[in-house]
C-alpha cells in the first residue's frame, strides 16, 4: 500500500439516525499491521461507528468519508464492503433460524472468494480445523446460526466467521464483553492468528483485560461522537483508573479554545 492510498481512514465522519446526530466528526487512521483500540462511555457512539463503517441502513452519513484501500466505501452496500475485506464482529450478533452455521459460512465464503472457488469438502475440513482452534464443539456446524447460542458462544462464532472470511480490516465491537476468562483467551488467540503486516484491527472495548492479549499500538477515546483523545497503549491504564470525566473536561476545554 503506497503512502497516497490510505489503507483505512475515517475523515470527519458525521452520522445520524432519523432525529439524532450521533457521530459528530470522527477522525481515525489505521495503517496495515496496526491494532487500534477504541474506548468510550456507554452511548458515546462506538457501535454506531462500527455500523456506519459496515453500512447499516439505519444511519445516514451527513458528512465525511471512510476510505478503505484508497476507495470511499460509503456509497457501497454492506455486502460489497465485506467482499472488499471489511469485517465487523457484532456487539449483539443476530440469529438466523433455519440456516445452519455450515450453510451460512459457505454462502458467505462463496460471496467473498467467488462461487466455486472453495470445494465443499475442503471448506468443511478448514471449518473443522478452525472450530477446533477456537475450542468449539463440532456440533455447532449443524446448528442454526446464533439460534439459542449463549452470549459467549455467539462471540466465538463471530471470530470463527472472521477466520473463515479472512478480512483485511476488522472491527470488533465489544467481542470481549461477557466472555469468561478462558473464552477471552481463546477468542484472543483467534484474533491474533489474523494479526499480521497486512491486517488492520479496531478493537472496541470497555476493559483493559482484552488489551493484554491483543496488544494495540494506539488507543482512542470516543466521547459524544468524537474522538476526544488518542494515545499509546498506556492511555488505557489511565482510563481504567480515572474513568472518562477528566478526558471529557480536557476535551471540552480544547473545544472551547
Amino acid at each position: 500500500m503506497s503512502e497516497k492510498t490510505p489503507f483505512f481512514e475515517i475523515r470527519n465522519l458525521h452520522a445520524k439516525t432519523e432525529d439524532k446526530a450521533i457521530l459528530k466528526g470522527v477522525n481515525l487512521t489505521i495503517l496495515p499491521g496496526e491494532t487500534h483500540a477504541l474506548m468510550g462511555p456507554n452511548g458515546s457512539g462506538k457501535s454506531t461507528l462500527s455500523n456506519v463503517i459496515m453500512g447499516h441502513p439505519a444511519y445516514e452519513v451527513t458528512d465525511g468519508e471512510v476510505i478503505f484501500q484508497g476507495q470511499n466505501i460509503l456509497e457501497l452496500d454492506p455486502d460489497a464492503r465485506a467482499r472488499l475485506g471489511l469485517f465487523l464482529a457484532f456487539q449483539y450478533p443476530v440469529a438466523i433460524p433455519g440456516i445452519s452455521v455450515a450453510k451460512f459460512l459457505k454462502s458467505a465464503a462463496d460471496a467473498r472468494f467467488g462461487q466455486g472457488t472453495i470445494k465443499p469438502a475442503q471448506f468443511i475440513k478448514q471449518l473443522r480445523e478452525d472450530m477446533k482452534f477456537l475450542e468449539m464443539s463440532e456440533a455447532f456446524i449443524n446448528r442454526f446460526l446464533n439460534d439459542g447460542f449463549s452470549g459467549g458462544e455467539k462471540k466465538r462464532m463471530e471470530i470463527l466467521q472472521m477466520l473463515t472470511l479472512k478480512p483485511v480490516l476488522a472491527v470488533m465491537d465489544e467481542t470481549d464483553s461477557g466472555l469468561d476468562i478462558d473464552a477471552l483467551r481463546i477468542v484472543s488467540k483467534g484474533v491474533n492468528r489474523m494479526v499480521g503486516p497486512n491486517f488492520g484491527l479496531l478493537v472496541i472495548t470497555h476493559y483493559e483485560r482484552i488489551l493484554r492479549y491483543i496488544a494495540p499500538s494506539h488507543l482512542h477515546v470516543l466521547i459524544d461522537g468524537q474522538v476526544a483523545m488518542s494515545g499509546g497503549p498506556d492511555l488505557v491504564k489511565e482510563v481504567e483508573k480515572n474513568g472518562y470525566d477528566w478526558i471529557r473536561e480536557k476535551f471540552g476545554k480544547e473545544v472551547l479554545v
Partner: protein, 483 residues
C-alpha cells in the same frame, strides 16, 4: 381446431417470461367440448371418458347440487364473479399416443421442458409419474413394477374403466359431491387426475407423482385425485403444477381425497406454481381446491406438505379427519405471495378418535402488494379423549405494501384436549438482513437465505429432491420481490 387458441405460440412480449419460465404454450391439437356448462356437457364428459352409467349419474347429481349452491364468500380474497358459462370444461390433446404406443413427441417435449420425463427411457429413478395435460392423463410410468406389488397408479379415467368397484367404494367418501361449491363443480365435470391404491401391508417403493399442466386457453382444469392406503400400507405422493402465462384468469378447481385405513400412512406433497398473473394482477390461475384426508383406521397417519408459490388466487385448506384412535394429522405449509397475488390457505383438523394428534406449521411470506392469509380450524369432538394439537403459524412481510392475516379457530368440546397455538408476524428484519449482508452476501441472496431459514420446518418435510426444487423455486420467486 381453427376456432380455438390452442395453437398459440410462446408470448414473448411479456417481461415475465423469464421470471415465470413455465409460461410457454404447447402447440397441440385439442379435442374439445364447447364452452359452457349444462347437463349435456356433463353427460358428454362422462361419455368421452367411457364411464359406467352410475358415474354419469353421480356427476349429474353433483351438477344439480352445484346449481343450488353459492360460491364461498368468507375467504379474504377478491375477484369478479366467474362466468361459468364462459369456461371450457373439457379439452384434451387429440393424439396422445403415436402408433407403436410412444407418447406424442410434442407432449413429451412439453413435459421434458417442465423437467418431467414421461418417456420410458427417461424415467426418473425412484419416482413414478402421471402427467396430466389439460383434461387428460398422458402417461403413467413405472406401471408394471408397481403392478407386481399390487399397487394401482393410473389416471382416474382408466381407474373408472378398469377398477370401477374400487373407485365406487371410495370416491366422494371424504369430500362428498355436495361438500362445497367448488367440490360440487369438480364432481360434476372432473376430467382427469390420479388414482392410487396401495394394498394391505405394501410399502410403495417409489414416490408417486402427478404433474398437472394447463395448456389450453379458457379451459378450466378440474382434476380429481383419490389415494387409498389399505391396512399398514405406505405411500408418498407428489403433486406439481404449472400453466402458461395468459392475460385472462383460468380456473383450477381440484378435489383430492386421501383415505388411510388402520396403520396406513399417506404423505402428500405439493409444489404449486401456477401462473400468478402480472404486476397489475392481470391473468393467472384461480386455484380453488378441496383437499381432505381421512384417517379412517386406528394408528393411521396423513401428512400434507404444500409449497404454494403461484396462482393469482389460492383458496385451499388441506384437512384431516382424525377418526381412527391414535391417528395423526399433519399440515406443513409455505405460502408465498407477490405482486397482486391473494392466498387464503390453511387447514382443518377434526379430532374424533381417542389420542389423536395433529400438527400445523404454516409459514406465510408476503411481498409486493399481495395478501396472504392463514385460516385454520382445530375441532375436537367430545369423543376425542386426550386429543393434542400443536399449531405454529408465522408470517413474514417483505416491504410495506403487502399484508398478512391469521384466522385460527379452536373448537374444543372435551376438557382433556391439549392445544397449543403460537403465531408471529414480522417484517423481514433489518438487523438480520444487515448481518447477513455484512458477511458479503448480497441483499437478494440474503433475503432468500433468511426466508429459506424461516421455511425450514416445512421444507424438511418434503422428499429430499423435491425440497431442493422447492427451495430453488422460492429463491427464483424472491429474486423479483426485493428492493
Amino acid at each position: 381446431m381453427s376456432d380455438t387458441d390452442t395453437t398459440f405460440k410462446l408470448e414473448t412480449d411479456s417481461a415475465l417470461v423469464q421470471e415465470y419460465k413455465y409460461g410457454f404454450v404447447s402447440d397441440v391439437e385439442a379435442d374439445e367440448l364447447p364452452k359452457g356448462l349444462n347437463e349435456d356437457i356433463v353427460r358428454a364428459i362422462s361419455a368421452k371418458k367411457k364411464e359406467p352409467e352410475w358415474m354419469t349419474e353421480w356427476r349429474l347429481k353433483a351438477f344439480r347440487r352445484w346449481q343450488k349452491k353459492e360460491y364461498p364468500r368468507w375467504a379474504k380474497v377478491q375477484y369478479p364473479p366467474i362466468d361459468y358459462q364462459d369456461i371450457r370444461y373439457y379439452s384434451a390433446p387429440k393424439n396422445t399416443l403415436k402408433s407403436g404406443g410412444e407418447v406424442d413427441p410434442e407432449l413429451a417435449k412439453t413435459f421434458e421442458k417442465l423437467g418431467i420425463p414421461i418417456e420410458e427411457r427417461n424415467h426418473l429413478a425412484g419416482v413414478a409419474v402421471d402427467a396430466v395435460f389439460d383434461s387428460m392423463s398422458i402417461a403413467t410410468t413405472h406401471r408394471e413394477m408397481l403392478a407386481e406389488k399390487g399397487i394401482i397408479f393410473c389416471s382416474m379415467s382408466e381407474a373408472l374403466q378398469h377398477h370401477p368397484d374400487l373407485v365406487r367404494k371410495y370416491l366422494g367418501t371424504v369430500v362428498p359431491p355436495g361438500d362445497n361449491f367448488y367440490a360440487a363443480l369438480n364432481s360434476a365435470v372432473f376430467s382427469d387426475g390420479s388414482f392410487c391404491f396401495i394394498p394391505k401391508g405394501v410399502r410403495c417403493p417409489v414416490e408417486l407423482s402427478t404433474y398437472f399442466r394447463i395448456n389450453a386457453r379458457d379451459t378450466g382444469q378440474f382434476e380429481r385425485t383419490l389415494i387409498v392406503a389399505e391396512e399398514g400400507a405406505y405411500v408418498s405422493y407428489i403433486e406439481g403444477c404449472t400453466a402458461p402465462q395468459r392475460d385472462n384468469n383460468q380456473l383450477h378447481a381440484a378435489v383430492v381425497e386421501l383415505i388411510a385405513l388402520e396403520g396406513a400412512q399417506i404423505k402428500y406433497s405439493t409444489v404449486q406454481n401456477w401462473y400468478a398473473g402480472d404486476e397489475n394482477g392481470q391473468g393467472g390461475i384461480y386455484n380453488f381446491v378441496t383437499k381432505r384426508g381421512h384417517c379412517r383406521g386406528a394408528n393411521s397417519k396423513i401428512s400434507w406438505t404444500q409449497v404454494e408459490v403461484g396462482a393469482a388466487i389460492t383458496w385451499k385448506y388441506p384437512s384431516v379427519i382424525l377418526e381412527g384412535d391414535n391417528s395423526v394429522g399433519e399440515f406443513y405449509s409455505v405460502a408465498f405471495t407477490n405482486k397482486k397475488m391473494q392466498a387464503d390457505t390453511g387447514t382443518k383438523m377434526v379430532h374424533i378418535g381417542k389420542n389423536t394428534s395433529s400438527t400445523i406449521i404454516s409459514k406465510g411470506i408476503s411481498a409486493g402488494e399481495s395478501a396472504n392469509s392463514y385460516r385454520g380450524l382445530v375441532r375436537v369432538l367430545p369423543s376425542a379423549l386426550n386429543a393434542r394439537n400443536h399449531t405454529c403459524c408465522d408470517s413474514m412481510l417483505i416491504g410495506d405494501t403487502c399484508s398478512a392475516n391469521t384466522y385460527p379457530v379452536i373448537e374444543a368440546e372435551t376438557s382433556t384436549a391439549i392445544i397449543e397455538h403460537e403465531a408471529t408476524t414480522s417484517k423481514i428484519s433489518e438487523e438480520q438482513l444487515f448481518y447477513v449482508q455484512s458477511r458479503g452476501i448480497d441483499e437478494e441472496s440474503a433475503t432468500s437465505l433468511i426466508v429459506n431459514g424461516f421455511c425450514k420446518d416445512v421444507f424438511k418435510e418434503l422428499p429430499l429432491e423435491f425440497s431442493v426444487e422447492a427451495i430453488k423455486l422460492l429463491e427464483l420467486k424472491l429474486e423479483h420481490s426485493v428492493g
